[in-house]
Symmetry: C2
Subunit: 308 residues, 2 copies
């Protein structure tokens, strides 16, 4: 089953305490599809300017990513520049040049409208809503958002939340959107806005899947060296949604495994600038790292827990 | 098998954004033994002043905690007062009055010297070292410490680390002691100082067991309401060490379950002031909460992870 992503394609300039890169392929739709493509075919919707070098995404084409929905219009491709602090988590945005992304109004090619698995990357909530209206028979729709939309366009965001199955956001955004300090109460508040499923990302502390009444706590991998965290969230979403589309079922057990795959894919993303590491992965590498994460979570089931 | 704890007995005055208590039974040895007593007999070594009301610890006596090592001397019992911030994590110390704890020089009663499982709560490293020398045939010695000793008496601390099996500390202390920002590299640095086993506590984000070359990531329970976090770390240590002593074996599988039990016991501790919740627990309540945590960690083992 294929997965549809609607988001951005960008050029990033990234500086970390250890290195910098002036022109790195970026954008939510790019990171998402690079990761998802290891599990299922991907339909991509994004916009680039006529300064975009289409050779930069040859690797997506080779990985079964359908680029019919990538529109090129006159103007500049979205550019973002950021600088990471020593902890490799906090970052300062140097500039955001929307370029052609400012007038992005996603229209699905006809053959995309039958997509059953849909990811709405972090764009204006009204545009996310419009995408949902174009999909004929969705099975599972997940979305991302950010503080800018939570504080600036809350009504539109709530309208979109009411028509999706899942929200994938970070812990500070849960607190901002729910106005609750406690993540678990906050998650319930957000579930009441629409999505039955929440994935709360906590960076190095892993993530929490809240699905209906149940919780699944997934640790992050023990990463000793982070090279560039840019795109990790969208890569997580790509692993998660790609896995769901591959599994062709949405239930508690599958959702949990999907969170594990999102975690695994994100751990590769942060090992290099841009999607460099995601370009060269092999299924065996993904399996080995999945095994590493499972080992770090495993309890033997036959232990005695407490004296009767 | 019994477990020995050497630490403090105190009266705390605690203020949270929601409530306050002026005279709550506290101290590392108290929280530790309250938790450990659900799994194994406990030998306690601590000191109190002649202002201490021994009726306050009747519940420990009833729970098989051997109090022969509790010395009463003329003077005031250790008193600590703290105020928690809105996030219930950051706290400000209002005062610390060491009282008789200032001259604490633990001497084990003869019948304690054969203890095989030993926990050195957060006291001066030299005193911890002296306790180790008094134990005849230790099987597993774990210790706690704090920033004060790391920055003030590092040489003494390193000497003590060289004779213990495990260190149980929080993430910021790992970074301070190892001088490494990355927890996993930091843990290796500390292992090189002596302890093969580290338990890194991350509060609401759970804990990491580093044992020889392996990692185990244990999430915290999804707690919706924290009443008072005081003593959670020592309660964790009590559940951990009590479980090890009960299991009478120290290996990877048992250590992992011990971390789970520490996590479970700490989740009860934060539900009330002082050790109130730890006084009334039943084995069934402990089992139920353990099951809740295991459910939040569980993956079905027969899933397909990636297309071959």
């Amino acid at each position: 089953m294929s997965v549809l992503v609607v988001g951005s394609m960008a050029y990033d300039a990234v500086e970390t305490p250890f290195a910098e890169i002036a022109r790195a392929l970026g954008g939510s739709a790019m990171f998402f599809s690079a990761a998802a493509s290891y599990f299922s075919p991907v339909n991509l919707v994004a916009v680039v300017g006529n300064d975009f070098d289409h050779n930069d995404i040859d690797f997506l084409r080779e990985r079964q990513v359908d680029l019919l929905g990538l529109t090129t219009v006159k103007g500049e491709t979205f550019r973002w520049s950021g600088k990471y602090a020593d902890n490799m988590i906090d970052r300062q945005t140097i500039y955001t040049k929307l370029g052609v992304f400012e007038n992005f109004d996603p229209v699905l090619p006809e053959r995309y409208t039958s997509s059953e698995y849909v990811f709405l990357a972090n764009i204006q909530p009204d545009l996310q809503y419009n995408v949902v209206q174009q999909v004929k028979n969705p099975r599972f729709i997940a979305m991302d958002t950010m503080n800018f939309w939570i504080t600036g366009t809350l009504d539109e965001l709530k309208k979109t939340l009411s028509v999706v199955d899942a929200l994938i956001i970070n812990d500070s955004e849960v607190r901002l959107l729910s106005r609750e300090a406690n993540l678990f109460i906050g998650a319930k508040t957000i579930q009441a806005m629409g999505p039955k499923t929440l994935i709360v990302k906590k960076g190095e502390h892993g993530s929490i899947l809240v699905h209906e009444d149940s919780y699944f706590m997934c640790p992050a991998l023990p990463v000793e060296q982070v090279h560039d965290p840019t795109g990790a969230g969208d890569t997580f979403a790509g692993g998660f949604m790609g896995y769901l589309a591959m599994a062709e079922a949405v239930n508690e057990a599958v959702l949990r495994r999907a969170v594990v795959m999102g975690t695994v894919m994100a751990s590769f993303c942060v090992e290099s600038f841009s999607a460099q590491r995601l370009k060269t992965l092999t299924p065996d590498e993904i399996k080995a790292r999945t095994a590493q994460l499972l080992t770090a979570m495993r309890l033997e089931s036959d232990g005695i827990w407490i004296q009767p």
